[in-house]
């Protein structure tokens, strides 16, 4: 065997089960979750019963211990029905539970992972600040060393799950002058003194996912809550984002898949000039392009996931799949609205929601420009080596 595109029975059984859950449980509430712009605790609880909050957490900590290829498939299935809920789930799993499992001490793992895996605690990962977006080195939040730990001060913005979270990974400067070599990741808990949730953002899309500001005012964090090494946070952050990007890319594939399914079934039913829209080549070629591009993006996601599972370097692959999948999601939802015509523009049909949800996949966990920088650096690095 040189290359095998098949999956095992377990994979298909999980896919079928997750799809049934998403269609039955998340489907009926997806429109309302978007409209109300509220994280649904009710759905979160049901997703917890299914095991969605601990997809890759090791079984000894209460997770399902699945591989990244299966993980990506689950995120895609959730996004196909309710993209904003797939955001809450992928951030929790891939940029909170995953780094704790990978770099945490035994004590940290035992303390945080079981509650994260069950969904009793929702997890967050926060680097972005008002003056530090793509440029992580400009982080201004400081961590001042004191006798038994660190005192954190600063403001974080755009924190997914910020307002509903209990476990927070926060990037702060332990050595300000050292730039990225002075970054440390801390585990903060809801309710720590001086740690408060600020504004809840009003968003274009992903409205069922909570995005909040976090304010730290003299927050005392014990030394045992440092994740990995002091001043070693940049490496953790970058590797965490590599993993996270596979989840975001899978989410984008799910959005593209939804756009494809919604618009192709609409085109088959809608008649103009006495023929279904699918009889017009202008429409059917667009559907053909959507199908091909969605499958292309999915293959890139699976390659990156396979490399991660097999412990091969995958930073470039993760950037590529996120770059492609997010652009495919934008194109597919744009074409889908065109196929729906005026009906695509009104809120009676879910396609406008997917269109709004798609855009941010080109922005968070690194913008498309940043993805191109990573891919180019990998390419040029190899050329000069």
């Amino acid at each position: 065997m040189i290359l095998d595109f098949s999956h095992d029975e377990r994979y298909y059984f999980i896919k079928r089960t997750v799809r049934e859950f998403c269609e039955k449980v998340l489907g009926p509430t997806a429109e309302e979750v978007d409209r109300a712009q509220e994280f649904s605790w009710d759905n979160a609880k049901k997703m917890g019963e299914m095991g969605f909050w601990g997809i890759q957490v090791a079984p000894e900590y209460g997770g399902a211990g699945l591989d990244t290829i299966t993980y990506a498939m689950i995120i895609e299935e959730i996004a196909r029905i309710s993209a904003s809920e797939s955001l809450s789930v992928t951030v929790h799993n891939s940029v909170c539970a995953y780094p704790i499992q990978r770099w945490g001490t035994d004590k940290q793992k035992a303390k945080y992972l079981p509650k994260l895996a069950s969904g009793e605690h929702i997890g967050c990962f926060s680097l972005t600040e008002p003056n530090a977006g793509s440029d992580v080195a400009s982080i201004e939040t400081t961590a001042r060393e004191v006798e038994d730990g660190y005192v954190l001060n600063g403001n974080k913005v755009f924190v997914t799950n910020g307002g509903v979270g209990s476990t927070f990974l926060i990037g702060a400067m332990t050595a300000k002058s050292a730039g990225i070599k002075g970054l440390t990741i801390f585990i903060l808990e809801k309710g720590m003194k001086g740690f408060i949730v600020g504004k809840h953002e009003n968003k274009l899309g992903m409205r069922g996912s909570n995005t909040s500001e976090l304010i730290m005012n003299e927050v005392m964090v014990p030394r045992e809550n440092v994740l990995g090494q002091v001043n070693g946070g940049f490496k953790i952050a970058m590797e965490t984002l590599n993993a996270g990007r596979i989840g975001i890319a899978a989410q984008a594939v799910g959005i593209g898949q939804a756009a494809l399914e919604l618009s192709s079934s609409y085109a088959r039913k809608r008649k103009q000039f006495k023929r279904p829209l699918t009889a017009f080549q202008a429409i059917s070629f667009n559907l053909a392009d959507m199908l091909t591009e969605v499958e292309m993006a999915r293959l890139l996601v699976q390659r990156a996931a396979w490399k991660k599972d097999n412990h091969k370097p995958y930073a470039k692959d993760a950037a590529q799949c996120k770059l492609v999948a997010s652009e495919v999601a934008m194109k597919a939802t744009t074409k889908a609205i065109q196929i729906f015509g005026g009906y695509g523009f009104i809120k009676d049909f879910p396609i406008e929601r997917f269109f709004r949800d798609a855009k941010v996949t080109e922005i968070y966990e690194g913008t498309s420009e940043v993805m191109r920088i990573i891919i180019a650096q990998d390419l040029i690095g190899k050329l000069t080596r």
């Binding site: 029975e9 377990r10 059984f13 089960t17 859950f21 699945l66």
Partner: protein
């Protein structure tokens, strides 16, 4: 005590293909699913298990190797063990041979212990005879209650509510051992969880495969040899009546429809 839940793998109904020569279902060609009612019968077993301390749930099916997936589904939902009865000698079984085979497997499993309940679907979505449950009970010499819309177990007393004609319900009680067949209304089956699925698929030891020799089957009573019925022909009936298309304004269509229904005494 043990709860034995008999499950059947059936073709996903939209894709059934019939072999024009033999009149049999072409099973290999169609995607297979767990018989929908059997999900309710597994759920009933699991609900009873969760309400007391002493229950072990065992799913059992007679079928080809691919029926393994139906058992894995039962294990994913929470059954403790699963048994696949698979042997080329079982091929061609009608409901009588199927029931005989299931019943001797259950005898072997219970090993003279009388403390058990059997749950079945009221019927399978393909064969749809509804024979297998009651026939298994008959083979075992135990009472059976069919078509349960509610069922519960109190000590060793099984209490079942079932529909009678004209919308009436009746309640029946029996002592274990007993067999019950269930309808859709009995409960809402759970979906397997990710943990359940990984447990089922990764713990190979939960599923055993038994053949005719394992259960000491009488070769005259199994498979084609043990089947008293033979399918002579299977076909898709031709639609007999023409469709009627009503035209006019919605109001006219509605009143035409109403008078047609009245004419036929439907309303």
């Amino acid at each position: 005590m043990k709860i034995i839940t008999c499950i059947k793998q059936v073709p996903a109904n939209s894709t059934i293909k019939i072999d024009q020569v033999t009149g049999h279902l072409v099973r290999e060609a169609t995607p297979a699913i767990l018989n929908p009612l059997d999900k309710h019968s597994i759920e009933l077993a699991l609900e009873i298990k969760e309400s007391r301390e002493d229950v072990e749930v065992i799913a059992i099916t007679m079928g080809p190797d691919q029926a393994r997936l139906a058992l894995l589904e039962a294990l994913s939902m929470g059954a403790d063990k699963a048994i696949l009865l698979s042997d080329i000698k079982f091929a061609g079984s009608d409901t009588l041979a199927t029931s005989y085979t299931l019943s001797i497997a259950i005898k072997k499993l219970m090993n003279d212990d009388d403390n058990y309940l059997i749950t079945c679907g009221a019927q399978a979505s393909d064969g749809e005879t509804g024979h297998v449950g009651p026939q298994v009970a008959e083979e075992l010499g135990i009472p059976s209650i069919t078509g349960a819309s509610r069922a519960s177990l109190d000590g060793d007393v099984l209490l079942v509510t079932r529909g009678k004609q004209a919308g009436k319900l009746e309640q029946i009680k029996t002592r274990l051992p007993a067999l019950v067949t269930v309808t859709k209304g009995v409960n809402k089956p759970r979906l397997p969880t990710l943990h359940g699925i990984t447990h089922a698929f990764d713990e190979g030891a939960l599923l055993s495969v038994w053949n005719a020799a394992t259960i000491d089957a009488d070769e005259e009573k199994i498979g084609m040899a043990g089947s008293k019925t033979k399918v002579s022909k299977m076909y898709t009936p031709e639609p007999k009546k023409e469709n009627i298309t009503l035209t006019g304004s919605p109001k006219e269509i509605a009143s035409k429809l109403a008078s047609m229904l009245k004419e036929k005494n439907y309303i």
